[in-house]
C-alpha cells in the first residue's frame, strides 16, 4: 500500500545542517531551485527541552506522509532539525499511495500505524473519532519549550474536534485561502489589477474584461471536476452574506436560511450568470494548478503552500497574491491546512513529538516561510523581520498574514453518522445540491431546501 520514499536520511540531513552556514532568511531560495534552505539555527534551537529521549538511543521512527511538494519540503525541514538533535534515530518516511484515509484506517485496524502520520483538516474529524491520533496537548503541557498558546486559534482549530478535548495536529502553516493572480494578464487586458481592498463585484467586472480579451482563458480557476464543492470555497460565501450552514448546537441544518441561500446563489452565479469560472465537468489537462501555471486561468484561490511551486514553475509572467475579495457583509475566507500528528500505535510518541514540534518552533516557521512553503502561525512572529528579507514573487505575501485573520474553519461538529463537509452524507448532499444548482437542474432554493431536509433527517436521528 505504501511506497518507501527515497529521502535524505537523518544522517544526510545532519550533513546538510552541518555543512550549511548560511544565515537564515538572508536570501530566499531562487525561483528555480528545489533546495530546502536549512541553516545552523536549526541545531541551536531545536527541542531544547527534550529530556525524555536518550540522545544516544538507537531506534527507528516511522513516518507516513502524503508526498506532495510542500509536504515533502516541510518533511525535509523536520528531518533536518530532528536529525541534528538525534543523529542516532533513523526516520523512515513512507509516501502513502491510493486513498489516504482508507490506508490509515486499515493500518489502524491492524494496530501498526507509523509513529508520525500526515493529517489535514479534512481528516481531523474522522481520525479523531476513530481514535487514530493522540492528543498533542499532553506533550505540550510537559514541554517547557513549546506552547500552543502562541498559535493563532483558527489554524489550531483545524486539528481539533468540537466536543472533544485536545489538539490532534500541528499545522504546517497558517494556511488560509487567498487569491493568486496573473498580473500580466490583467494588465495586458486593460483590466484593473486586483488589490487587497477588492470586493467580488470588482473581481467579476475585471474578469469579464480579461475573458473578453483572452478567449480560452478562465478568470477564476474554480470548477471543472474538482474544487467547486470544497467547503473553504463556498462556506465563506454563506458567511459573507450573513448566514451559516448549521446551528451552533449542530441540531438544525440552515443551508436554506435566506442568508445562506443568498450566499450560495451568489456563488453559483459565478458559473450561471457571470460565467467567469471553469464550466462544471470540464477536464483540465493538468488540473487547476496547471491552468494557472500555463497562464490559462487568471486567478487561483489557494493556500500559501503553492508559492514554492509557482516560484519554480512560472517563468513567463508576473504573479502575485491578494486577500480574498470581500463579500457584502464581510471579508471572509476558508482555512485549510495539512499537518502532522502522532498515531495511537506510536512506539516512540515522545520522539515523534520532538520531530513534529519543530514545525511550530520559530525556527521551523521561519524556514517554512523563507522556503515559500508556508506562512508563520505564531502570534509572536506577526512582525518578524524575516518578512522584510523575502524576495518576490509574491510581492504581497502579507496578504496571507492579513488574510489569515479573516479565515474561518469548517463547521465540524456534525454527528459522525452524518459525515461532514468533507465526506459522508453531508458532503454528498451538499455536493449534489451545488451541482444541481450550477447545472440548472434545480434552483438554488429548491436544491438546498432538499439538501437541508436530507441533512436534517440525519441530524434528527443521530442526536
Amino acid at each position: 500500500m505504501f511506497r518507501e520514499r527515497t529521502h535524505a536520511s537523518s544522517k544526510c540531513a545532519v550533513a546538510v545542517v552541518a555543512a550549511s552556514t548560511v544565515i537564515i532568511a538572508a536570501c530566499a531560495a531562487p525561483a528555480t531551485t528545489r533546495v530546502i534552505e536549512v541553516t545552523k539555527e536549526v541545531v541551536v534551537t531545536a527541542a531544547p527541552g527534550a529530556g525524555a529521549i536518550d540522545p544516544n538511543a538507537k531506534f527507528q521512527l516511522t513516518y507516513l506522509n502524503i508526498c506532495f511538494p510542500s509536504s515533502m519540503a516541510v518533511t525535509d525541514l523536520m528531518l533536518a532539525a530532528f536529525g541534528a538533535k538525534y543523529p542516532n534515530v533513523d526516520v523512515k518516511v513512507d509516501c502513502a499511495q491510493g486513498d489516504y484515509a482508507e490506508g490509515v484506517f486499515a493500518q489502524a485496524a491492524a494496530g501498526n500505524l507509523p509513529d508520525v502520520i500526515f493529517s489535514a483538516d479534512l481528516f481531523t474529524v474522522p481520525f479523531v473519532n476513530a481514535g487514530v491520533l493522540l492528543d498533542l496537548e499532553q506533550f505540550d503541557k510537559a514541554d517547557d519549550s513549546f506552547s500552543f498558546d502562541d498559535i493563532y486559534p483558527n489554524i489550531l482549530a483545524l486539528g481539533q474536534v468540537p466536543g472533544k478535548p485536545g489538539t490532534y495536529m500541528i499545522p504546517a502553516s497558517w494556511d488560509s485561502v487567498q487569491m493568486y493572480y496573473n498580473k500580466d494578464l490583467f494588465e495586458k487586458s486593460g483590466a484593473p489589477v486586483p488589490t487587497d481592498e477588492w470586493t467580488w463585484d470588482d473581481l467579476i467586472a475585471a474578469c469579464k474584461i480579461v475573458q473578453e480579451k483572452n478567449p480560452g482563458v478562465y478568470c477564476v480557476a474554480n470548477g471543472g471536476t474538482e474544487g467547486w464543492d470544497w467547503w473553504a470555497y463556498f462556506i465563506p460565501w454563506i458567511v459573507g452574506h450573513g448566514g451559516y450552514p448549521v446551528s451552533e448546537d449542530f441540531k438544525t441544518s440552515t443551508f436554506s436560511s435566506p442568508e445562506s441561500l443568498a450566499g450560495i446563489q451568489a456563488y453559483v452565479d459565478l458559473w450561471t450568470k457571470h460565467k467567469v469560472t471553469i464550466p462544471i465537468g470540464e477536464q483540465l489537462p493538468s488540473g487547476r494548478d496547471g491552468c494557472f501555471i500555463a497562464g490559462k486561468c487568471a486567478t487561483y484561490f489557494m493556500i500559501p503552500g503553492l508559492m514554492k511551486t509557482f516560484r519554480e514553475k512560472i517563468t513567463d509572467f508576473t504573479w502575485d497574491v491578494v486577500q480574498m475579495p470581500a463579500l457584502p457583509k464581510k471579508r471572509v475566507t476558508g482555512m485549510g491546512t495539512y499537518g502532522y500528528g502522532i498515531s495511537k500505535d506510536s512506539k516512540n510518541p515522545q520522539a515523534a513529538w520532538e520531530l513534529i514540534k519543530f514545525l511550530a518552533s520559530p525556527t521551523g516557521q521561519r524556514l517554512s516561510l523563507t522556503n515559500y512553503i508556508g506562512v508563520p502561525f505564531l502570534k509572536s512572529m506577526a512582525n518578524d523581520p524575516v518578512y522584510e528579507r523575502l524576495q518576490p514573487p509574491p510581492q504581497n505575501i502579507q496578504a496571507f498574514l492579513k488574510g489569515g485573520e479573516i479565515g474561518i474553519f469548517p463547521p465540524n461538529g456534525y454527528p459522525p453518522k452524518c459525515g461532514s463537509l468533507y465526506a459522508g452524507l453531508i458532503n454528498q448532499t451538499i455536493r449534489t445540491a451545488l451541482e444541481e444548482s450550477i447545472r440548472g437542474v434545480k434552483t438554488v432554493e429548491q436544491a438546498f431546501k432538499d439538501a437541508d431536509a436530507e441533512i436534517q433527517s440525519c441530524l434528527d436521528t443521530a442526536q
Binding site: 486513498d99 476513530a130 487514530v132 465537468g281 459522508g424
Partner: protein, 298 residues
C-alpha cells in the same frame, strides 16, 4: 468392508493434495463470506467493535434514499441491460468476420484482441483523454468532419451511454470464445444447408446461432456477472458523476465501506448483489432448456 492399505494410502494422499485448495477456500472465501454476513447485521466502522442492529442495514438499503442504493442498482441494471447485448452482438459480429478464410486474418484477430490484454486502468485513462470534451481527439475529429461535439462523460444524460459504448472496447475475450465456438460447428451442417438451397441469413439463423447457443449462454452469464461488478472505469473517469448518472452499485458499495465507514451497510449491499447475481444465473439456467442446444442431450 475392509479397505486395503493401498486404498487408505491413496485416499490420504488425495486429501493431502486437495487440502491447500480446501483450506484456501475455507480461509479466504467462505470465512470472509460468513464474516461479511455477520457484519451485514451490524453497525461497524472497522475501528470500533461491531454493534448488532438486526435487519436495519437491509431495510435502510431500500428505504433511505440518501444512501442511493436503489439508484445505483438501477444504474447498474441499465448498464447490464445495454452493455451485455451490445458486447455479445459486436463480439459475434467481429468473430463472424474474423472467421472468414482470408489472407492476413491472424493479424486482424490479434489487432482486435489486443485491447483485452492492455491493463484496464491504462485503457480507461486513455479513453478519458480521448473523450475530453474540449481537448479530446474524438471531439476534434467530429469537428473536422463538421459534426457537433459530444459531451460524453461531462453531462448527466450522456455519461452512462458513453460508458456503455466504451464497454465494446473490451469485446476481445468474448470474440475469441465466439471464434472458438464458430470453428467447432461441423462443416457438414453448412454443406447440407447449401445443398438444400439455404441462403446466408437462413444458414446463420438455423445453423450458426443454434450451434453457438451454448457459447452465447456462457458469455451471457459471465457478461451479466461482470456487468453487475462494474467498477473501475466509473471510479477512474467519473467517480459516479455527473449527478450520480454513473453511480454504479459497486462504486456505491466501495464508498459506503471505505469513505463513509459504513461497513455493515456495505456488507449488506454485497449480499444483496450476491443474491441478485445468483437469482439471475438461476433464471438463465432454468430458461436455457428452451433456447440452448447441446449436441449431446444432457
Amino acid at each position: 468392508m475392509r479397505h486395503s492399505r493401498l486404498y487408505w494410502h491413496e485416499t490420504i494422499q488425495g486429501y493431502a493434495f486437495i487440502m491447500p485448495v480446501v483450506l484456501g477456500l475455507i480461509l479466504f472465501v467462505f470465512g470472509p463470506m460468513i464474516a461479511s454476513l455477520y457484519i451485514s447485521f451490524t453497525e461497524y466502522s472497522i475501528l470500533q467493535a461491531p454493534v448488532w442492529v438486526g435487519l436495519r442495514n437491509y431495510v435502510d438499503m431500500f428505504t433511505r434514499a440518501p444512501l442511493r442504493v436503489m439508484h445505483s442498482l438501477w444504474v447498474t441494471v441499465i448498464y447490464a441491460a445495454c452493455s451485455v447485448p451490445l458486447i455479445l452482438v459486436t463480439a459475434l459480429g467481429a468473430a463472424l468476420l474474423l472467421n472468414q478464410k482470408l489472407r492476413g486474418m491472424r493479424y486482424f484477430r490479434t489487432a482486435l484482441y489486443i485491447p483485452t490484454v492492455v491493463p484496464l486502468v491504462a485503457t480507461v485513462f486513455v479513453w478519458g483523454w480521448l473523450l475530453n470534451p474540449s481537448l479530446g481527439l474524438v471531439n476534434a475529429t467530429l469537428k473536422l468532419l463538421g459534426l457537433p461535439p459530444g459531451t460524453w462523460l461531462s453531462e448527466p444524460n450522456t455519461a452512462l451511454p458513453t460508458l456503455i459504448l466504451l464497454s465494446v472496447w473490451g469485446i476481445g475475450g468474448s470474440m475469441v470464445v465466439f471464434l472458438a465456438g464458430l470453428q467447432g460447428i461441423p462443416e457438414s451442417l453448412y454443406e447440407a444447408a447449401k445443398i438444400d438451397g439455404a441462403n446466408e441469413w437462413r444458414t446463420f439463423w438455423y445453423i450458426t446461432l443454434p450451434q453457438l447457443s451454448p457459447t452465447i449462454f456462457f458469455l451471457l452469464i459471465t457478461g451479466i456477472i461482470s456487468a453487475f461488478q462494474y467498477f473501475a472505469p466509473a471510479f477512474i473517469l467519473t467517480r459516479g458523476g455527473p449527478l450520480f448518472a454513473t453511480y454504479f452499485y459497486n462504486l456505491n458499495l466501495y464508498e459506503k465501506a471505505f469513505r463513509w465507514q459504513f461497513m455493515g451497510l456495505a456488507s449488506a449491499m454485497a449480499w444483496l448483489l450476491f443474491i441478485i447475481i445468483i437469482a439471475l444465473t438461476y433464471i438463465l439456467f432454468r430458461s436455457s432448456d428452451a433456447w440452448v442446444h447441446y449436441e449431446v442431450k444432457r
